[in-house]
Amino acid sequence: MFRTKFRSIVILVLVAMLTGVLGVSAQDGSVTFMSTQFNIVEESDKIRTILADFGEVEFVPSEEGPMIDLLRAEAETGEGSVDLIGALHGTFPVLQNEDVLFDLSDLLAQLEENYELPESFVELGKLGTADYQYYIPWMQATYIMAAHVSALEYLPEGADINALTWEQFAEWAKNIYDGTGEAQLGLPVAGLFHRFLEGYLYPSFTGGMVTGFKSPEAVAMWEWFRDELWPYVHPQSVTSYEFMQEPLLAGEVILAFDHTARLINAFNDKPDEFVGFPAPTGPAGLGFMPVVVGLGVPYTSADPDGAEALIDFLLQPETQGRVLQDLAFFPVVGGVDTTDLPEGVAIEAAAVEAQAASPDALPALLPVGLGDRGGEINEIYRNAFSRIVLNGEDIQTVLDDEGAALQSLLDETGAPCWPPDAPSEGACQLQ
């Protein structure tokens, strides 16, 4: 009796050791593509399917921090496993600082012969230098608004859904509340809500993201947000809403703001029930946040030719079209066939187009130059929100407190101002 028990334990150990050994060994000669985008399993799957058409690609989704650590470590040894990286614009300044990326100027020249790349994005890829192309723009995304058709009847009179002001938007949310008895505007407070503050509210009301952080305009904005908008926001926004497509589909909210990739399921599943529209305009313009994703090649790449070929593949209008179709990230090259888009993507595309084309458009970049402390700036905006809106603290006090934290973050990292704030010599300064 005891003996058989003992034997089964021994077998268990052996099995464990074997699986451990097998689990560790995974090597091949393909191009390794590490990306901070598409690191949710469903998305990883889709991009892998697209990449399969290029050939042997090992797609490795990663968080930003570990990717930077890995590249740093590989640069030290001189030999690397990562051939190509895909990351948000905001990730690249850190890599620039580490000097781990090839200058892709030559590749860019070749690519520009075949593809039509927007000059502004190419310029972003130089990260403030004149002649060092750190990344090639890969794709873009942004944040837009979504509404269930049932919400449209509450739209304030005379308001144009494609040219709303924030005042009208708040009125709309209030109308819904008055009409249905429930707060049905959803904000992804558990998700990427900080972008809403940084890229939408602040630019729309103060004209900038950082410099006007504690300005009188900002105080007015917070007052408005607290009193006019927040009462009509669904309470579970704070605790549960990270991807707004879920509550939209579940019918808990009928009006929402989120990243295009986090709304797409709603538009795709029920294209007849949901409409997409641009963010509203504020006194200073229509602040919105385009998200640029770039491709860079670490000089430790074992196969830089393969990496460059893969960049070429990813920029082909056909590939860009498929990424748009399947993953709802928008193309950076011209000539992408948008006639046959899935309905959901088409809805988003129209809203994105309208948002960018607005005469008052005030595109706000993701924070730049904060290095590995990029996460902290988001927390400052979130803290301001929590303290002012949730806790009801005095607005000016909170903004002064958090503004001080913001200023010291900027000083310590030496980050100069980035759009929509006016460029600065040295670290960006709050007004």
């Binding site: 005891f2 003996r3 268990l12 464990a16 699986t19 689990g23 949710i40 469903e42």
Partner: protein, 283 residues
């Protein structure tokens, strides 16, 4: 039953006795329900149709019964992988922890040596320390050593976390084997090693197996270290925690049940040893 008539005082005493017993029963059942009801509810959700999962009001039994929701969960990319990681981590932890703890537990229970009390105290102190204090620097160290995001690094961490408990449990298991068994073996011709293998080991294996299962459960459930130490090779709890707000209700309910189910079995297996294990530690 005797049919002899009892005087009223006796009858009242009997009735009071029965009443008291019944109320203890009622209390016992009430507490059992308090523990079982939530499990039943999450089980209900895990085996309801998608429609019922999203539906409101909720049902309190999985009718119609379906494995659709569980399938949805299991078929999520990464779940099987994470489950495999979790099992792997737990098994490595169990083996490592038991292998390292067994000799130490034996030493503590069988030898009087200088520093024994200090060692015991040290172990208690380790157990009393917050995991968080270890996880952060270990994560940093593992990155430096190139061991970050590996299944075995989580197992190493879990071993450190479970080792103190395992040592104390194992030592109490050994302590429950009378020293005279070993002495008898020695008198009748065994050396220390033979006495251990022939007499002590067969007797402690059930107890140690119980402690190993407990180690397994601790590792299986551990979130903090697993979340800090992994990015791609997430263990199940780490993966679920990570994708909590991103995921649908179906995912959450099924995930909750999926994590909880093995515990039902394991605790059942080791229930007889629980007091053995914890009782002696507290001394």
């Amino acid at each position: 039953m005797t049919t002899r008539t009892l005087d009223p005082v006796q009858r009242r005493a009997i009735r009071q006795r029965q009443l008291r017993r019944a109320s203890v029963y009622a209390l016992a059942i009430l507490i059992a329900l308090w523990i079982l009801l939530p499990i039943w509810l999450i089980g209900t959700m895990a085996f309801s149709t998608q429609q019922d999962v999203y539906g409101y009001p909720k049902q309190i039994a999985p009718i119609p019964f379906t494995t659709e929701t569980m399938e949805f969960f299991v078929n999520q990319e990464g779940i099987l992988e994470a489950t495999r990681n979790s099992v792997l981590v737990a098994v490595i932890t169990l083996v490592l922890s038991t292998a390292i703890a067994a000799p130490a537990g034996y030493a503590i229970s069988r030898y009087f040596f200088a520093g024994r009390d200090a060692f015991r105290l040290g172990i208690l102190a380790v157990r009393a320390f917050p995991i968080v204090i270890l996880a952060v620097p270990l994560a940093v160290t593992f990155i430096e050593w190139g061991m970050f995001d590996k299944v075995y690094s989580v197992a190493l961490m879990h071993t450190a976390l479970t080792l103190p408990t395992t040592i104390l449990v194992v030592s109490s298991v050994f302590a429950s084997i009378p020293r005279e068994f070993e002495e008898a073996a020695k008198v009748f011709g065994c050396n220390a090693y033979q006495a251990f293998i022939r007499v002590v080991l067969p007797l402690v294996i059930p107890g140690i197996a119980a402690s190993a299962i407990f180690t397994f459960v601790m590792s299986w459930n551990e979130v903090f270290a697993a979340t800090l130490l992994t990015i791609r090779n997430r263990t199940l709890p780490a993966l679920i925690l990570y994708s909590l707000n991103k995921s649908s209700l179906q995912f959450q309910y099924a995930g909750g049940f999926f994590m909880l189910a093995p515990s039902l079995v394991f605790i059942f297996v080791i229930r007889r040893y629980l007091f053995n294990m914890w009782g002696q530690i507290t001394k």
